[in-house]
């Protein structure tokens, strides 16, 4: 029995030459082939960007026997840069710094060679401190991720745990694997973009409906403003027609004016009926329900867009979620606002996590729904104003109603309208957590 040692897994520069016996080589080749088959099979069923990257990294780690791997994708806007999508075993910060320092040289080399490069072969391309940084991060090789001839991203693998060197055959296998994954990732990004475009289209339709509702509300307000003075005008004219004007010509003019005023009132009445019919007051349809299934479908709906924005998005519900009292539509509006907000205020490569759990507070049971990010956080002096910012900027609350890029103030209003709460906490540099509390049913 081996001792439980703290002995680290070796990741040294000194790799043993591959000295496997012929039968070992045959078994290795079979293992590589099986790994490629697994990758090919699984790529057919996955269109999720982060899942595909995890699949690739775990597959390669298991294929080559390394505990360290990471993948970056290149973001074209706002500025070209590599965004870390997944990292296993490598220290995120060290690997991130190494790529940042070496990215330009790696791009140049890879666009020329289109194939994996062992780190030692980069010695002439990288300045000594950068080369040192790469090795310190535990990276043994880099490989480009291409689709057609476009460089999509960059893979890094650590040393093999058994100390053996990556062979030319390994690099060829790696190139084959990345060739398959490049196309798959391109498809996943295109697919995610299509889903997100569909969602945006749906939102645009909702916004158009909202514009229409606001137009009706505006008309309604104008109608009310016109109707009251018009009633006074009509009353005065009727009084004059009945009692005050003897001259027939003047009386005829007055009758004509009165008739037109009646027509105007009729028109306004019709407009009022129309606007009342379409006016969207903020109504809540609160009923007990299973928020877990709503959160799951919300996560599925938003995943593509968030992934497309190169952010990871996970849903982690606790077991045995309580039923809660809420309005499905209003809860979705709050969640949309919080996710939009998180995507807007976190950099690419960030992670968002949607969580749900039971929560006891103020002698009451709640369903707590949290959206946590690992972005830059909110400065303490801004915490008090984030829920008021909309009022300050736009000076009106009602214009936000129903999805015109609903602000946090509106989201909190919706939560309170469901007898719930919307809270925020944040640690600058570590991230923010927005919590929706809904009364347990």
């Amino acid at each position: 029995m081996s001792e439980p040692s703290r002995q680290p897994i070796p990741h040294g520069h000194e790799s043993r030459a591959s000295g496997a016996p012929p039968e070992g080589l045959a078994a290795r080749r079979e293992h590589s082939l099986n790994s490629l088959l697994e990758l090919s099979r699984e790529l057919k069923v996955s269109l999720d960007l982060h899942q595909t990257v995890d699949l690739l990294l775990f597959n390669l780690m298991g294929q080559f026997g390394t505990a360290r791997a990471a993948l970056w994708l290149f973001e074209s806007a706002p500025a070209p840069r590599a965004v870390m999508i997944r990292c296993h075993g490598l220290q995120r910060a060290a690997a991130g710094s190494a790529i940042e320092a070496a990215e330009a040289a790696l791009r140049r080399r890879m666009e020329l060679e289109l194939s994996p490069i062992l780190c030692w072969a980069l010695k002439d391309d990288l300045e000594a401190p950068v080369f040192h940084l790469v090795r310190q991060a535990g990276i043994a090789l880099f490989a480009p991720l291409f689709a057609h001839r476009d460089l999509l991203g960059l893979l890094a693998l650590g040393d093999r745990l058994d100390g053996e060197a990556y062979t030319p055959g390994d690099l060829k296998t790696l190139e084959t694997a990345l060739g398959m994954v490049g196309m798959s990732l391109l498809n996943a990004r295109l697919y995610n973009r299509m889903l997100e475009n569909n969602r945006q289209l749906r939102l645009t339709n909702e916004r158009l409906r909202e514009h229409d509702r606001l137009k009706t509300e505006f008309l309604s307000n104008v109608n009310h403003e016109l109707r009251t003075p018009l009633a006074v005008v009509i009353g005065t004219m009727e009084c004059l027609v009945e009692h005050g004007v003897a001259d027939p010509a003047m009386r005829e003019l007055l009758v004509s004016g009165l008739q037109k005023s009646h027509d105007l009132r009729g028109l306004i009445e019709n407009l009022l009926v129309l606007s009342d019919a379409t006016r969207g007051r903020l109504e809540f349809h609160i009923e007990p329900g299973d928020a877990g299934s709503l959160l799951e479908s919300f996560h599925a709906d938003r995943l593509a867009g968030v992934s497309e924005a190169l952010r990871d998005f996970r849903y982690r519900p606790a077991r045995d979620l309580p039923a809660a009292r809420f309005d499905r539509q209003r809860l979705l509006q709050i969640l949309d606002e919080l996710v939009d907000n998180a995507v807007k205020f976190t950099p690419s490569g960030s992670s968002l996590e949607l969580r749900a759990r039971r929560h006891e507070q103020d002698e009451a049971s709640w369903l707590a729904i949290e959206l946590a990010d690992n972005g830059p956080g909110i400065p303490p002096d801004r915490m008090d104003s984030i829920f008021r910012s909309f009022e300050q900027v736009d000076g009106s609350w009602t214009r936000k109603v129903g999805g015109l890029g609903v602000g946090l103030a509106f989201a909190r209003g919706l939560a309170e309208g469901m007898n719930g709460k919307l809270l925020a906490r944040s640690t600058p540099g570590s991230g923010s957590v927005f919590t929706i509390l809904l009364p347990a049913a």
Binding site: S2, L39, E42, D54, L161
Partner: protein, 116 residues
């Protein structure tokens, strides 16, 4: 018929967690394995019992290695126990039996953890 993938978790001591893996370990369940192990073995040493593993794909091995490395970067560590024949052949092929802490039985792994 192959046993479907599932995980059985146990915390036999305050600083020890055991996760028993059953069925196929591949790309489909690598993420679940990682999430479960992270959850049950927070601030604990972890024993992974592989007796019930009927097949392990490269992605499964990759997930195990990611887990071992992740724990190694904390003050806790992972031991593998009761490696099934299906897992053993891949682990030996990659020479991981020389690198990872492997015990013949779960109780031996727990004893080794307690002695650490």
């Amino acid at each position: 018929m192959n046993e479907p993938f599932h995980l059985e978790v146990d915390t036999p001591a305050p600083r020890l967690a055991v996760v028993r893996i059953h069925g196929y370990l591949d790309a489909h369940n690598a993420a679940e394995l990682l999430a479960t192990c992270r959850e049950v073995a927070q601030e604990k040493h972890l024993v992974l019992n592989l007796a019930g593993v009927s097949f392990i794909a490269s992605s499964g091995i990759g997930a195990l290695l990611a887990l071992v490395e992740e724990f190694q970067q904390t003050d806790y560590f992972v031991r593998l126990a009761e490696i099934s024949p299906a897992s053993d052949s891949v682990i030996r092929l990659l020479n991981l039996d020389q690198i990872l802490s492997i015990d013949p039985t779960e109780s031996a792994a727990l004893e080794a953890m307690k002695a650490a």
